[in-house]
């Protein structure tokens, strides 16, 4: 066993997991607190990538672009909530799924009309574009380490926000008893709009961070949204802790599966068959995980206490 490789792949897995956490945390906020199923969350992730890409070329600096793009994505989220989502709170989940699927088509096509189908390659500043040697033989791209750092900072910020601030208290209270929150003189509608905007910002941030790696491209949202749903279902809907644990778990399973499964399969099937089967089976692993967890714990790993 090559332990250096195992260590690098673990880091890669954690990085993927943290990126998933950024997407999933917004989703679980919206789902857990507003009880709203937002399939279009992935489209906001894509919007974040495109907006930051354009701003990178405009300002010439990726970091500045991200800082500018964050409030813009938040504002777009706010608008979407005011115009569409608000009207759907009283409806059932199926209506949410249908309407937000429509929203995906609208946003994705609009992006294709505005930015074209080509996708945008986002340049990084030199200090983010190199590599860091963590230990002798263990070299990681700086930017992937930066994603890990950003993910951990955001995660810490979210825990603090939800558990230790007045806003967090209102959010938690709003989820279980919106009339009581209203009675406290808090405008519950504005609160919900803000939560949705925060969720949009988190998704947008994830899109901005992946864009320098994979390019900003249309339909990138559809590829991440289902995995993000798996994360919040496994973790327990509405649970920030659950989303974090599940995201890291799924990031690791995916990366380690891709790394080592083909060699494992090659032990008992032909090399070619193993090369075809391994990526498919490793992609299947996370769904197997979800099914097993739901079969044993129908509410996910960390079901929220107040519901």
């Amino acid at each position: 066993m090559d332990y250096t490789l195992l260590f690098i792949q673990t880091l890669n897995g954690v990085q993927l997991g943290l990126l998933l956490f950024l997407v999933a945390s917004g989703l679980t906020l919206v789902f857990g607190i507003l009880d709203f199923v937002n399939l279009a969350h992935g489209s906001i992730y894509m919007l974040g990538a495109f907006i930051s890409a354009s701003l990178t070329f405009l300002t010439g600096n990726f970091v500045v672009a991200v800082l500018l793009a964050l409030p813009i994505t938040g504002a777009i989220g706010y608008l979407i909530e005011r115009v569409l989502v608000r009207r759907l709170y009283a409806r059932n989940h199926l209506d949410h799924v249908l309407a937000t699927f429509g929203l995906i088509l609208v946003i994705d096509t609009t992006v294709q009309i505005l930015w074209g189908p080509a996708g945008i390659s986002v340049p990084l500043p030199a200090w983010l574009n190199g590599q860091v040697e963590l230990f002798p033989g263990v070299v990681m791209p700086t930017f992937r380490l930066a994603i890990i750092g950003a993910g951990l900072v955001v995660a810490a910020g979210l825990f603090w926000l939800v558990n230790h601030t007045r806003l967090g208290m209102l959010i938690r209270a709003g989820a279980s008893n919106s009339t009581m929150v209203s009675a406290l003189g808090v405008d519950i509608k504005t609160l919900f709009s803000l939560v949705f905007a925060l969720g949009a910002m988190l998704a947008g941030l994830a899109g901005m961070l992946i864009a320098p790696i994979t390019e900003a491209s249309i339909n990138m949202g559809g590829e991440v949204i289902i995995t993000a749903f798996v994360v919040i279902i496994v973790g327990g809907i509405g649970s920030m802790k659950g989303a974090f644990v599940a995201a890291i778990l799924i990031g690791l399973i995916d990366t380690l599966g891709r790394s080592f499964l083909d060699d494992l399969f090659a032990l008992f099937m032909s090399q070619n068959a193993a090369e075809t089967a391994a990526p498919a089976i490793s992609a299947m692993l996370i769904y197997i995980l979800m099914a097993v967890i739901l079969a044993l714990r129908p509410q996910g790993l960390f079901p929220p206490k107040v519901r």
Binding site: D2, T4, L5, I8, Q9, N12, Q15, L16, F57, Q112, G116, P117, A118, G119, I120, S121, V122, P123, L124, N129, G130, Q131, V139, P141, T142, F143, R144, I210, P212, I213, T214, E215, S217, I218, N219, M220, E223, T255, L256, R258, S259, D262, Q271, E275, T276, A278, P279, A280, A283
Partner: protein, 391 residues
């Protein structure tokens, strides 16, 4: 005068029924999703070809019908069915993706129409499933990476690691490079297509394998993603990258805009290059640049050729579109001006052609493009031709 008029009238009356037909060409390509960037480039080339032939073949009007395969085999098959059943086209051309072509093959060939691939070259169609009514204006998938394998041998590369997407073309490409590369293959990863765009795990494995070089095949947007990540992983000095169909005229402007200077000097093999010196290519490249402001991609070049191949078929039978055998014979002779220069068709109707080593350079205006570094193969035929029962 009167006699002349009546003769002319009689001539029109005689010829009108036979010549009332128009040449109908269905062109299947990708116009939605991110891959539409390739389809759009192809569309530009086909429109330019139509302009160059004045919209006519052997005096007949040409009607072009574009269809979008949505980047999916089953949609490709559906639109192909529609072209055959609804539009009753004479030729179905296009097809970027091997899996779309394989799914659509039966619909076209069972109807007795001509199927012309302007890009995809999956091995079954070159071998056991070859068909008298199928023609390619591109290559068989294995060929381009075979030329790359040959180039690696010439460079004295001793070992490589392979990463490619897990679909029909990816498997052919890998088979191609394995067929000619004489050194060791220290590992191979097939990734999920087209969704997987993050290659961190694969790159780490490649690095750990200790291979001397890395070879990949990633067409379209995955190519851009891969190139970025290869650069971010800092493997440039320890593990040089050799690619097939990963860098093209569509991604080069994007790389240039992003200041991705590592791409300059990259080398890859192909059957065509904008700098090839023949009149047809000069006209094509110059007019394409003048009209659209960018270099044409190899996708565009092959699509441009496909229209001229069809034109040679229609002219070969003097516009008698019912003469299927005549049109087939005309196409088989490859007697049309190709942008890649003169080539011949093998028994399986895949080109027997040269393969060149292309190198990314700056042109006189500072734009990134490619030039021919050398000829790797002369008159190369694909390895599946022997399995094809056609003569």
């Amino acid at each position: 005068m009167k006699r002349l008029l009546s003769a002319a009238l009689a001539a029109t009356m005689l010829t009108t029924p036979a010549f009332a037909r128009e040449v109908k060409i269905g062109f299947v390509t990708t116009l939605t999703t991110g891959a539409a960037v390739i389809g759009n480039d192809i569309k530009k080339a086909v429109d330019l070809a139509m302009e160059h032939i004045g919209g006519k073949m052997a005096g007949l009007d040409v009607k072009l019908i574009y269809a979008d395969d949505g980047f999916k085999p089953e949609i490709g098959k559906q639109v192909t069915d529609k072209l055959i059943k609804q539009e009753n086209v004479d030729f179905v051309a296009g097809y970027i993706w091997s899996n779309v072509l394989l799914a659509s093959r039966k619909s076209v060939l069972d109807s007795g129409k001509f199927l012309i691939s302007a890009n995809a070259g999956p091995s079954p169609l070159a071998g056991k499933l070859c068909n008298k009514n199928f023609f390619s204006t591109s290559w068989q998938n294995d060929q381009t990476p075979m030329a790359m394998g040959e180039y690696l041998n010439q460079k004295g590369v001793k070992s490589i690691y392979i990463i490619a997407p897990n679909y029909a073309a990816g498997k052919n490409m890998v088979a191609g490079v394995q067929r000619t590369f004489k050194g060791k293959i220290l590992g191979k990863d097939m990734t999920t297509w087209p969704t997987q765009l993050d290659f961190s795990a694969e790159l780490a494995k490649a690095k750990a394998s200790g291979a001397e070089a890395l070879w990949v095949f990633y067409p379209g947007k995955a190519g851009g993603a891969f190139m970025k990540q290869y650069q971010q992983a800092g493997l440039k000095d320890s593990m040089p990258l050799y690619t097939s169909f990963t860098i093209d005229a569509l991604s080069l402007p994007k790389f240039q805009a992003a200041g991705f200077n590592d791409v300059l000097g990259s080398k890859f093999t192909q059957e065509w290059d904008p700098s090839l010196d023949n009149p047809q290519n000069k006209r094509f490249v110059a007019d394409f640049k003048a009209k659209y402001g960018s270099y044409p991609s190899f996708y565009a070049a092959q699509a441009y050729d496909s229209i001229f191949l069809i034109k040679s078929a229609v002219e070969g039978v003097k516009g008698n579109l019912d003469d299927i055998d005549g049109m087939r014979a005309a196409m088989k002779s490859a007697n049309f001006p190709s942008v890649r220069g003169k080539f011949t068709y093998g028994n399986n109707h895949f080109p027997i052609q040269n393969f060149y080593l292309r190198e990314v350079v700056k042109d006189a205006d500072g734009n990134w493009t490619t030039k021919v570094a050398k000829t790797v193969y002369k008159n190369n035929q694909d390895p599946y031709a022997a399995q094809c029962p056609l003569k």
